[in-house]
């Protein structure tokens, strides 16, 4: 029997081919299911629209010049040159002390967006930041070995296509280290920081703590404490409250976390392995071991002793489910 006769299933799904069916099941988790995003505005050529746009631009330019002149001669940011290009919609922003609708954010300069404005910032050739209103960001440094920014207040969304750890955003209480793809970062007036990872993985680091946050998890970082323990965005309020108490210094909250934790919370439990010791770590280990499939290469005694290598190997096994829930046929979550 020829290859074609045997494998019609491959072409039109008639007949059977178990090997192809197995590959379909294995790879189906990669299939594209996302809805269409709102398309960008098209350029219109009607004279009335063009005239209206021109009038708005002239008014904006006049307003910018007036505000600029009130700025006691602040130099502002250059229109081109070294740094990150940006463009602002919804009103002029302040860049380097001056007013700007677009330009280049040089190293050391602050970009401040007023309420209602949104700035798009191009991060070298590796990605894009959306800086929302009432935010203050600074370019700390940029070069071949990395790009470093600071978010002092407000909110940004980052989308980065680069090797891990190449893009870092500092906040007053932690540093968000990109390990691949997309996240949102918000900083409140007191420095309290909230990270939400929408794709890939981000490491939130500070005060000697590291929070490993894959897609669909959130992390809070508070002044004086550094990054807290990540939670799944689908985690119930009871678990979030218990994690907040634990991160705030209440070790008794660990019991509540372990009681509430389900398979979706393995990200919380895995991070807790490095934030606990002795009997507490043993309790976390026991619950994580119940909820997930521990690889044979990860020995219980090594995890209980806090061996970083063993804990990392367990993470690598869990990463598959955190990064792509439902991918493949087997899950390391126990049902």
């Amino acid at each position: 029997m020829s290859e074609a006769d045997r494998s019609d299933y491959l072409f039109d799904k008639t007949g059977e081919d178990p090997a192809v069916a197995e590959l379909e099941a294995l790879l189906g988790g990669y299939a594209h299911r996302a809805p269409l995003r709102e398309p960008p505005a098209r350029r219109r050529r009607h004279r009335s629209i063009t005239a209206m746009t021109a009038a708005v631009l002239v008014m904006a330019a006049v307003a910018a010049i007036v505000i600029w002149r009130r700025d006691d001669g602040a130099a502002g940011c250059p229109s081109a040159g070294a740094g990150f290009a940006f463009a602002v919609a919804g009103g002029p922003a302040r860049c380097g002390g001056g007013v700007a609708l677009q330009g280049t954010l040089p190293v050391g300069a602050w970009l401040e967006t007023p309420g209602g404005a949104v700035a798009d910032v191009r991060v070298a050739d590796i990605g894009q930041l959306t800086v929302y209103g009432d935010s203050r960001v600074r370019l700390v440094g940029t070069g071949a070995t990395g790009h470093h920014m600071e978010l002092a207040r407000g909110k940004l969304a980052a989308r980065v296509t680069a090797p891990p750890r190449l893009f870092v955003v500092d906040t007053p209480v932690a540093s968000a280290v990109d390990l691949g793809c997309a996240y949102e970062l918000a900083v409140e007036a007191d420095g309290r920081t909230r990270l939400r990872v929408t794709s890939g993985v981000v490491s939130l680091e500070g005060h000697g703590l590291v929070a490993y946050a894959p897609m669909d998890t959130e992390v809070l970082a508070a002044p004086g404490r550094g990054p807290g323990t990540p939670v799944a965005i689908t985690a119930p309020d009871k678990l979030r409250a218990a994690v907040a108490r634990f991160d705030g210094g209440d070790p008794a909250a660990l019991r509540a976390i372990l009681e509430v934790a389900l398979a979706r919370d393995t990200i919380t439990l895995w991070n807790l392995l490095s934030r606990t010791a002795a009997a507490d770590r043993a309790a976390v280990f026991a619950r994580l071991d119940e909820l997930s499939e521990r690889p044979s290469s990860v020995r219980a005694e090594d995890v209980l002793a806090g061996d970083p290598g063993a804990i990392e190997r367990w993470r690598e096994a869990l990463d598959d489910d955190w990064s792509c829930p439902g991918c493949g046929q087997k899950s390391k979550y126990k049902k």
Binding site: E3, A4, S7, L10, F11, D12, K13, P18, A19, V20, E22, L23, E24, L26, L27, G28, G29, Y30, A31, H32, A34, L36, R37, P39, P40, R42, R43, D125, I126, A144, T145, G146, R159, T161, A162, P163, P164, R165, L166, L179, G180, C181, A182, S199, G200, V201, E316, D319, D320, D321, S323, C324, C327, G328, K330
Partner: protein, 181 residues
């Protein structure tokens, strides 16, 4: 005699393209529904999974703004797939580890892939020649049949059949067995 205009669901790709050029968002949504999976497959053949979705959205944003330049509506499948290959190649080039010395080199692996077995299978497909890997990803990942792949790529069904079978033969060899994955 029924003289009504075809709905977007009934329209041909060329009719949808003309409607989108005229500003129809409904037709644009229908084009997305028909083509997002082949666009994703072409992207996934070249870039990490977490970037492929962004490539799809970027390509369709370009379709919306640049479709007026397409003079022959029936050429849309080839046009959008060429645009996708260019966009994905750009993203893959930026993803490539940069050439720096020191400890940073140890950090340059791409983000951890989904499931080990799935990632290994996808990697094996990506190592195949272009023509085979795109067709296999459309079939095995996006769950399109051979006739659907032909319709959305402009290839003949027979060419698709040949690509799928040759690609699958190579893939079986590379996955190391008679039994597939």
């Amino acid at each position: 005699m029924d003289a009504r205009e075809p709905t977007v669901a009934e329209a041909t790709v060329a009719e949808l393209v003309v409607a989108v050029q005229g500003g129809s968002r409904a037709a644009f949504g229908s084009l997305y529904e028909r083509f997002h999976r082949v666009v994703h497959a072409v992207a996934l053949a070249r870039v990490p999974a977490c970037d492929a979705g962004d490539v799809v959205q970027d390509v369709f944003a370009d379709v919306w703004t640049k479709l007026a330049r397409l003079r022959e509506p029936a050429a849309f499948p080839g046009w959008i797939l060429a645009m996708t290959r260019n966009r994905a190649t750009d993203v893959a080039r930026r993803r490539r580890p940069i050439d720096v010395a020191g400890d940073l080199a140890a950090d340059l692996a791409v983000a951890p892939p989904p499931r080990v077995e799935a990632a290994a299978a996808l990697r094996a497909i990506r190592d195949l020649p272009d023509t085979y890997r795109e067709a296999l990803i459309m079939r095995l990942v996006e769950d399109l049949t051979g006739p659907e792949i032909a319709e959305h790529t402009g290839m003949t069904p027979e060419s698709v059949r040949v690509h799928l079978h040759r690609g699958m033969k190579l893939l079986r060899e590379r996955l190391g067995g008679e039994g597939g994955p």
